[in-house]
Symmetry: C2
Subunit: 696 residues, 2 copies
């Protein structure tokens, strides 16, 4: 078989086949785009590197779902989504191990090393389904992505051919730039990005045009160097984009190995401080491996000094580990991987120069690995960017609002991570602000306190976005508008800029107990949650909202893509069921919006047909709220989710959840509320020309 | 590739490739045996047939688990089980749909058809994790089994080759018999069963010898006819084994189809009675299919009569369905499968004549399909037989006790099913005892009441075994023995002859939250649960039990298989961890027993090393009991599982769970208790010669 060659034109070029690049490719493939994905490595990761998936990332992976491979008797079913279930998340969960608990080991007055504290890795107050860290090596993670991307490409119409791995490798990026507008260049309006890639072995070069290019090529990003314009060699630190922050002289070794030990907590995440030999973090891993992060320091004339990076060998690392573990036995067997890193925190001064070539992941932020955050934040960078690109590329999103919001939101999270990581990694290495005074160099109590305080952030659930056009918080410009009073009703616990927490409801169409959060898989659509409260009280408001939705002035009708444009390959709108209503009714589906109606009145007491037309047409997304939730145990089965979310049963509420499952806006179920939503969507969505002409 | 031919000698021949035969093959493969599995059909089921998996069956499938396919860096790991996770169950759950709720539709004084009641398919009082019926067509179920069998065969040492499907097909059984002992027949002592099989196309015959032969070949079982000795044609009803019971004249059609309808509950299990047109049951299915069970009757001069079986066409079935659904619209699209059946209940007078050729599944009991029980009970027949055969074939079980217990236990369940099914199917068909007086023929209220009362049984959790050597109930002979008073302590809610209910605990070795019930996968071993209660009160008793276990007189040391014999390919004893204790200690593993220690004292307050040696060596099976359980909400996190199971925290208890996850015996954690367990095991396990000689 002749090897498959890259084409000349793509929607998006993704540089880098690590978790960030794979997330970009998976999301953009789901949205129906043709991707050129290149990586300079000849093969996916085989060992080591990142390994911790945090609760919020698992939630996201669950929401991405999986392509069903079950045969469909009688051929494909119209309107049936090919995506469902736990998919990529379940695959990873099946291969990894879980950390529910963290143990802290320190010297005590009586013992050389003793467990001084414990903590759940995800404390109870964090409302998340997968309340653990999932550990598996980066290669397994990459393969799960590659398999799922390949499965989705089979659903993609007009998919361009790729090599069996889905990624062109080994290919190096030689250059990339955004071309200025040029009347003689037919592509300059639509595909202004040009890049040159080169096969690492054959040295054959290809010049590619695309609409966007994403630099997911890691800390030493070539994309970043190309656009920043720095010199080769120092390009990472110079030019139009600079990496801000600093490195320390603290050197750590990292090792994946099988061990024999009588240390009782070898299958826990442990943070171990010895009296004078430095610190270790261990993390249990799949296949009986243990990951060791070992501080490489030694004592020079009573003063603690780091071991030089070039002298930090695997043997030294193992010797240090045994020393720190004393008095426990620790015997090393098979070693799967070894590496050395230097603690430091750096962040790119800008994530993009022109919103055409866009950086993310390690290309924009680097930090120490101990908090298990890097891969998670990197993947979620691309997850966050992809749905915005989707709206923009399909002509519905305002690029001038949506694209800058990527950096605004993700840089905020990265900055918070760096702040936390800087303090945490120094404190763990015995270099905290007050640490120098302590004999062992480490303030154990302070460190444990810091660990516990940051659990919300490290779980990923604490990645909170601030006010902008997409997050209707009190500071947002939108909330100075005419319908401001309808936003963020009193008592409401759902907050724009934060993820929608989980909740179990009964899906009325089939009586199944389901997780509301996971009902709509990532499909590029905004999820309009109609919390209908007590139907007796809210009937009038529901009818009003329904009438508004079907009016030409509603966001639902104003912001429509061109005919034939779908939001994603997952399109299989809940509206198009086998119920005859769906063809009799004039309601025309808009793939960028979907409606989920949650009713507080017990679902035995009403029928889907009692709901007004636009809502009842999404038959598969109508829910009863009567399943016990321990977090609101007092509610029993009487609308527990309304109560957990702080929704007044007499009033109801409208909650917009963005395609990335972040809450975007929360308004009253009232005319002011839905007009407010109209303003909200008008802030970042276009009113395409043809609709304006056709309808008014 | 030349087609693979059967060998001449196997451990077990399994006749029939439906769910019962597949369960037999999967279990016996797991126990390490070589199976000849034949089926007369050329391919697995492609459509229709059975489709409902009940909660208890899902629990069993979860316990069977799946072979991990994740690559193991650095090669295989000693003592690591290849089986884990949800495996075969997760695969089926991912492909099927769930029924949580049942709706009852009947004529009312004002409406032709109205929903008159609802019921959960598995009410809250049934303590089961998967509280729904899982629906998917039999072909998907068969393929899940075939894939898992194939995966396990790769782990099996000396596996004999099979065709890619794992089953030799199409092969017909031509004869089978148990040969009398014969000194000139070298195999007669070990492999007394002879069968002749014939390839359906080539007509090539093979004569096979085996230790056992299992007849899982359905209602018209050829195995049954061979051993019963009846005439061809009437062999099913004559000879040494007779089918007892009777058929009715009630004819039903069954149809898998896609429909368009405004009937609101099309995705529920519905039991629909029309005023005078008969009844329908619908069940939602994967891929938007709906299963229809349609009563085929018509009115003849005001009298309701069944449509003759040979006149019951698909078109008539569809016409009846539309009529019964009135006034709702019902339009049929793609039809995947159609069949007709006659309601009747029959049970074999004996399941075996000599405990060498053994019948199970539909070969021993037939009934109507509406209760969704047949496939479940058939699979569980073989699941129940397999572990007993395992003990017997490995020389540890007493065949004269274990083999008859198969029929004793499973026939009891089948009889209960037939009793229920007879009443239920007749009542549903309008032929209940009081039904004739009613205008519509159906007593809706009585029917609904009956449905709800039988939910415990139909969930599969109510399949209860009575006293025998394996179930230490008050009526068992064992309970007339010297240690009788230690059995079934006051307040204990675990009952011998019933499944162990679920409960969540914290696995201390890694702090994971796990389901105790699923911790030990089906591996042929007895699971000795040590409920240790409050360690301060039970320490002495625990030490006593530990000392007893390591004494030569304990069941653990008396009932050992020959050297090198394992209980299953899942052997990967929790005792053999990477902890150095495991090699330093003299405790010699016995693969037919495993120990799970559950401690009521909060697990933050003690260490695994505080437990006495035999128990702490099963490091991966030591648990803390501090996870909230809604069923004992009052307990909070203070030993909720002890409280749910009715275990006195001051006394603890020993609970033997059989390899099929049924409770076998419950005793005090006291000397009387463990001596009682010694008597319990002596009732059905041998003391192999060499051990007696070696040790006493």
């Amino acid at each position: 078989m002749a090897s498959i060659q890259p084409q000349q034109i793509y929607d998006v070029v993704v540089v880098g086949g690590g978790p960030a690049g794979l997330m970009a490719s998976l999301c953009l493939t789901t949205y129906g785009f043709n991707i050129l994905h290149i990586d300079e490595r000849a093969h996916p990761t085989t060992a080591g590197r990142a390994d911790g998936i945090q609760p919020r990332t698992i939630e996201v992976l669950r929401n991405i779902g999986g392509v069903s491979t079950a045969p469909v008797p009688g051929g494909p079913i119209t309107g049936q989504s090919p995506i469902g279930g736990g998919g990529i998340a379940k695959k990873m969960i099946g291969q990894g191990v879980r950390v529910y608990q963290v143990a802290f080991w320190d010297p005590t007055p009586t013992e050389k090393l003793a467990r001084t504290s414990r903590a759940p890795s995800c404390p109870e107050f964090i409302d998340v389904v997968d309340n653990y860290t999932l550990l598996l090596h980066q290669g397994l993670i990459e393969h799960a992505f590659l398999d799922e991307i390949e499965a989705r490409r089979t659903v993609l119409p007009d998919a361009k051919p790729t090599p069996p791995s889905g990624i062109f490798r080994p290919y190096l990026l030689r250059d990339c730039r955004t071309l200025p507008g040029n009347a003689s260049d037919a592509l300059s309006g639509t595909h202004p990005v040009e890049c040159v890639i080169e096969h690492a072995d054959s040295k054959v070069k290809h010049t590619i045009r695309s609409r966007y290019l994403l630099g997911c090529d890691g800390a030493k990003s070539i994309v970043r160097r190309c656009i920043a314009g720095g010199e080769v060699g120092d390009g990472e630190w110079q030019g139009k984009i600079t990496m801000q922050g600093e490195a320390t002289d603290i050197i750590w070794g990292v090792l994946d190995a099988r061990v024999k030990t009588n240390f009782p907590d070898i299958k826990y995440k442990c943070l171990i401080h010895s009296k004078s030999e430095g610190s270790i973090m261990i993390i249990p891993r799949e296949a009986n491996l243990v990951r060791f992060y070992v501080q490489l320091q030694t004592t020079d004339g009573g003063k603690v000094v780091s071991i030089a990076r070039d002298k930090a060998t695997q043997d030294i690392c193992i010797a240090r580990a045994k020393k720190i573990f004393e008095p426990f036995e620790l015997e090393f067997g098979y070693v799967d991987w070894f590496s050395v890193y230097q603690i430091g925190q750096r962040i790119a001064s800008q994530y993009t120069l022109d919103h055409r070539i866009i950086l993310g992941g390690d290309a924009t932020h680097t930090h120490s690995p101990q908090a298990g955050q890097g891969m998670n934040i990197s993947m979620l960078d691309m997850y966050s960017l992809a749905w915005k690109l989707n709206l923009v590329m399909k002509g519905l999103g305002k690029p001038e609002v949506l694209l800058p919001s990527y950096e605004h939101e993700r840089r905020g999270v990265a900055e918070e991570l760096l702040k936390f990581d800087g303090a945490y990694s120094r404190l763990f290495s015995g270099r905290g602000p007050d640490a120098s005074q302590l004999p062992g160099g480490v303030d154990a109590e302070k460190f444990i306190q810091m660990f516990k305080q940051n659990a919300f952030f490290t779980s990923g659930c604490g990645a909170i976005y601030s006010a902008n056009e997409l997050n209707a918080l009190p500071d947002a410009a939108l909330l100075k508008g005419p319908h401001a009073r309808a936003f963020n009703p009193r008592g409401m616990k759902l907050v724009a800029g934060q993820r929608l927490p989980p909740g179990r409801v009964t899906r009325v169409v089939d009586g199944n107990n389901v997780r509301l959060q996971q009902e709509v898989k990532m499909n590029g659509a905004f999820r309009i949650h109609v919390f209908a409260g007590d139907l007796r009280a809210t009937k009038g408001a529901l009818d009003g909202f329904a009438a508004f939705l079907d009016s030409p002035a509603s966001f639902f009708n104003r912001h429509r893509p061109s005919v034939g444009v779908t939001a994603s390959i997952v399109d299989g709108p809940a509206a198009l069921t086998s119920h005859p209503d769906s063809t009799r009714n004039v309601h025309r589906h808009n793939p960028f919006f979907t409606f989920l109606t949650v009713v507080g009145t017990h679902w035995y007491e009403w029928e889907i047909n009692d709901l007004p037309a636009p809502l009842r047409l999404y038959r598969a997304q109508v829910y009863g709220d009567a399943l016990f939730d321990r977090l609101v145990a007092d509610a029993g089965t009487d609308a527990p989710l309304h109560r957990k979310f702080g929704i007044d049963l007499q009033k109801g509420a409208l909650v917009v959840v963005r395609p990335d499952s972040y809450v975007g806006a929360v308004v009253d179920l009232s005319e002011d509320g839905w007009l407010g939503l109209n303003d909200y969507f008008a802030g970042f969505l276009k009113v395409p020309e043809q609709h304006v002409r056709a309808r008014f």
